[in-house]
């Protein structure tokens, strides 16, 4: 029964104190959250820690969800905000070198092509300013521009602008590579 219920319903039940609903919800959402956390941070351990922050705080925030449209949008906003917090804290400790800045990839990559692609991805993500990178992380996660706007508290237009900026960055990067 619970597995068939949609996330919004589960979240509402959970915010009313339904333990089973919350358990089902977090179980179902965790991988998705982790995926986004990874894309926001570019580091596996950072992503695990970020997930821990979110897991610890989510129960308390859930009451704030009630009036929201979509649980996905809401939880992604929680996620992005938590990532920002972490980034800011990291900045104050001058250890910002982690993450996309110095991405320790577990090079499972068997063939060179893949390795090359990953290198390029690291370079690409590293070259982007934070806001463009966050936006790109969301949009690559199949989030629409409108939803991304809701998540990042900016207008849909801003998202579209950021994506086009990001594309420009990437195009410039490719050109640099091709003309050494």
């Amino acid at each position: 029964m619970l597995m068939k219920t949609d996330d919004n319903t589960l979240a509402r039940a959970a915010s009313d104190g339904d333990t089973a609903a919350f358990a089902a919800l977090i179980e179902r959402q965790y991988d998705r959250l982790f995926r986004l956390c990874f894309r926001l941070t570019g580091s596996r351990t950072e992503a695990e820690d970020l997930c821990q922050d979110i897991c610890a705080a989510l129960p308390g925030k859930l009451r704030g969800f009630r009036a929201e449209a979509s649980f996905t949008t809401w939880v992604y906003r929680v996620c992005v905000n938590a990532a920002h917090d972490r980034r800011r804290r990291a900045a104050t400790h001058a250890n910002a070198a982690e993450g996309w800045g110095a991405w320790e990839l577990n090079r499972r990559a068997a063939d060179d092509d893949t390795a090359e692609a990953l290198d390029w991805l690291i370079q690409a993500m590293r070259s982007l300013p934070d806001d463009l990178r966050d936006t790109l992380a969301l949009v690559l996660d199949d989030i629409t521009h409108r939803e991304a706007g809701e998540i990042l508290s900016v207008s849909e237009g801003t998202i579209s602008w950021r994506i086009s900026e990001a594309k420009k960055h990437l195009a410039a990067l490719r050109q640099q590579e091709e003309t050494p």
């Binding site: 219920t5 965790y30 990874f38 695990e48 821990q52 925030k61 449209a69 804290r89």
Partner: protein
């Protein structure tokens, strides 16, 4: 998405690792533990003997008590954050600045400490900078200020010297309804008209009640309804009043009364009520019902498809063996789920209903075409066919042109098949389309938010909802400029007709079902009243008023017998004398106007509406009126903050 992003997406997908199963299990355990602790904390209302009489927690409780639910929502995160802060190692460091006026609460919530301890351990294991990280929020108080909703875990939240105050001042989260894809049909509130310039008011009746149910659903969820969701006439028509039932040939008979206006001592309310003949249930013609059910993914919520199934089950009990039922669904592709089946084969119908499940997107038009085709196939001489569309508002996929859809429905209306629209759930309720469809299909639009509402719409009013007794009912009131200086129609904004349309039988208007009641209320300002809003014109004053000075207005009603081409006219003069006192309908009219912003209600408040409604509640056998009073009280509280 362009190609370069597609490439990037592929790379990203390839690069994204799976979460570590151990950390995942740990994190989920942590989340569940915190969740349980929180429930315990919130469920903990039992007063304990060792609780300090005065202190932080009692203060907080007091604050919570006086806060509205809206405030309490916000407080949750803040309160929990403070709570953890006091008990965690970090909290100890924070305590001194509060200790004087905020003693520690009793031992009970110690479990929380455990959670944050566990967390500290986890952090220490994964990050060398755990200690600094824990401290970080202290040096960055602005972080806490920017959003309550981002409080990261173990919560060195802002500790002001007076936590209670900081709770009150916390910015409430923006309360928006579930989503912004709801659209409502409405128009500007009817203005005050000057009788000498504009003596005639014409409108179509409206038997819909959807607006009231939408308002109820908003208020019970702790939000004032969007103004456009409020259609005052639908609120008034939600209730039944003591009207004269028609006798003899006429399909209905108007009941007219004039009473003082509660919100303005210098005006009067003219209430016009009509009640349709009640059809003897036993004599009714056989029904052909085609349920057209939206089974798109969004219908999965418990207040949608499951409620719909329960509602139809209730309705099935009211049908007779010779009635026929068919079910057509639309989601992705339209399909006939149940071929026309006599209502006597109850289990076949119930099984088909039970097997419906939500999934896929919505293709409204294809479904509608199939439903009408099914209805046509079922039609026989002397039977009434009706398509009952049940949806949560997703009526857009595969529909290129809404006007074409309306035109299609209007054309089918000519062929004698009626359409009713039942709305379920909130979030993307397309009220405007629902209204348009029902109006064009000569049907009723209702919004079903609870099983009780289903009972009211589908069972109690079965005869009315399903048996039209008069089509194209139009009301025209001509005010007498000798006695009425100004007037305004309360509600019916979306139902206005042109003056010349009244006598034009080609112009469509609302239908009335068996036993249905329709009420219209005008606020009229008598000649010489201090409440007149428009000054006399300096130039070109109208010809001196002529006419009988003991007549207030002249009422004309037109309707067609179902299927008839030409209309019948009912005429009746309305006398000036005050013939009644403020009624329950008046209280609802006032309530509706307040919800719309109260342009004309002056100093009148929700409290006055509650007082009037309570006074005029009457017998109220099903508790509908009591519920309305409850909603007024909610609106009063919600509008206060």
């Amino acid at each position: 998405m362009s190609d370069d992003l597609d490439d990037l997406k592929q790379m990203m997908d390839a690069a994204t690792p799976r979460p570590d199963p151990d950390r995942k299990a740990e994190n989920i355990t942590l989340a569940r533990k915190n969740f349980n602790n929180l429930q315990e904390f919130w469920g903990h209302t039992r007063p304990t003997s060792d609780r300090p009489e005065k202190g932080l927690m009692s203060g907080v409780r007091k604050v919570l008590k006086i806060m509205s639910s809206r405030g309490a929502l916000t407080a949750t995160t803040a309160l929990v954050a403070i709570y953890i802060a006091m008990l965690s190692p970090l909290g100890d460091r924070l305590m001194p600045m509060n200790r004087a006026d905020a003693p520690l609460p009793p031992a009970k919530p110690a479990v929380l400490t455990e959670a944050s301890d566990a967390q500290t351990r986890n952090k220490a294991a994964t990050s060398g900078a755990a200690q600094e990280e824990m401290l970080a929020p202290l040096v960055e108080p602005e972080m806490a200020a920017d959003s309550m909703a981002i409080a990261p875990a173990p919560a060195g939240r802002v500790m002001t010297s007076d936590p209670a105050t900081s709770l009150i001042m916390a910015e409430p989260p923006a309360v928006v309804f579930e989503s912004d894809t709801e659209t409502f049909a409405n128009a500007e509130t009817n203005p005050v008209k000057v009788t000498s310039e504009n003596p005639v008011s014409t409108f179509s009746i409206d038997v819909d009640t959807a607006s009231y149910a939408v308002i109820r659903s908003s208020l019970t969820q702790g939000q004032l309804p969007p103004r456009d969701a409020v259609r005052v006439e639908e609120m008034i028509n939600y209730f039944t009043y003591d009207y004269i039932a028609p006798n003899g040939e006429a399909a209905f008979q108007p009941t007219v009364s004039v009473s003082p206006t509660p919100w303005n001592p210098d005006t009067q309310l003219l209430q016009i009520g009509i009640e349709g003949t009640a059809v003897e249930i036993d004599d009714r013609p056989p029904l052909n019902l085609v349920f057209l059910i939206d089974t798109s993914g969004s219908m999965e919520a418990p207040n949608k498809l499951p409620l719909l199934k329960q509602s139809f089950r209730l309705m099935l009990g009211q049908l007779r063996p010779e009635d026929e039922v068919a079910i057509v669904t639309y989601a992705g592709s339209a399909g006939q789920v149940l071929a026309p089946t006599p209502a006597s084969e109850r289990s076949t119908i119930l099984n088909a209903l039970e097997n419906l499940s939500a999934g896929g997107s919505t293709a409204g038009q294809a479904g509608l075409q199939q439903a009408y085709a099914t209805a046509a196939q079922m039609a026989a001489e002397g039977e009434i066919s009706r398509v009952i569309l049940a949806t949560d508002g997703d009526f857009n996929v595969g529909l290129s042109d809404p006007d074409a859809l309306e035109a299609y429905i209007a054309e089918k209306r000519e062929s004698g098949t009626y359409l009713s629209v039942l709305g379920f759930g909130r979030g993307n309720l397309d009220d405007a389309t629902m209204q348009a469809l029902a109006q064009n299909g000569d049907g009723q639009a209702a919004y079903i938010d609870t099983l009780t509402e289903a009972q009211k719409v589908l069972v109690d009013q079965l005869s009315g909802a399903l048996f039209p007794i008069a089509d194209d009912v139009k009301i025209q009131v001509e005010f007498n400029p000798a006695t009425v200086a100004e007037y305004r129609l309360i509600g019916y904004e979306t139902r206005a007709l042109k003056r010349e349309d009244f006598n034009n039988d080609k112009v469509d208007a609302g239908d009335i079902g068996a036993g249905h009641q329709v009420t219209a209320i005008y606020e009229v300002t008598p000649v010489g009243s201090p409440a007149i809003l428009n000054d006399d014109l300096r130039y070109g004053t109208a010809a001196p008023a002529s006419g009988d000075s003991d007549e207030l207005a002249f009422l004309r009603l037109r309707y067609k017998a179902p299927g008839a081409e030409t209309s019948t006219l009912i005429e009746e003069p309305i006398a000036t004398e005050v013939s009644g006192s403020a009624s329950f309908a008046t209280a609802i009219a006032g309530f509706g106007q307040l919800l719309r912003g109260g342009t004309y209600t002056g100093e009148w408040t929700y409290a006055d509406a509650i007082a009037l409604a309570t006074e005029t509640k009457g017998a109220d056998p099903f508790g509908y009126r009591a519920e309305a009073i409850q909603l007024m009280r909610l609106a009063e509280s919600l509008s206060a903050n």
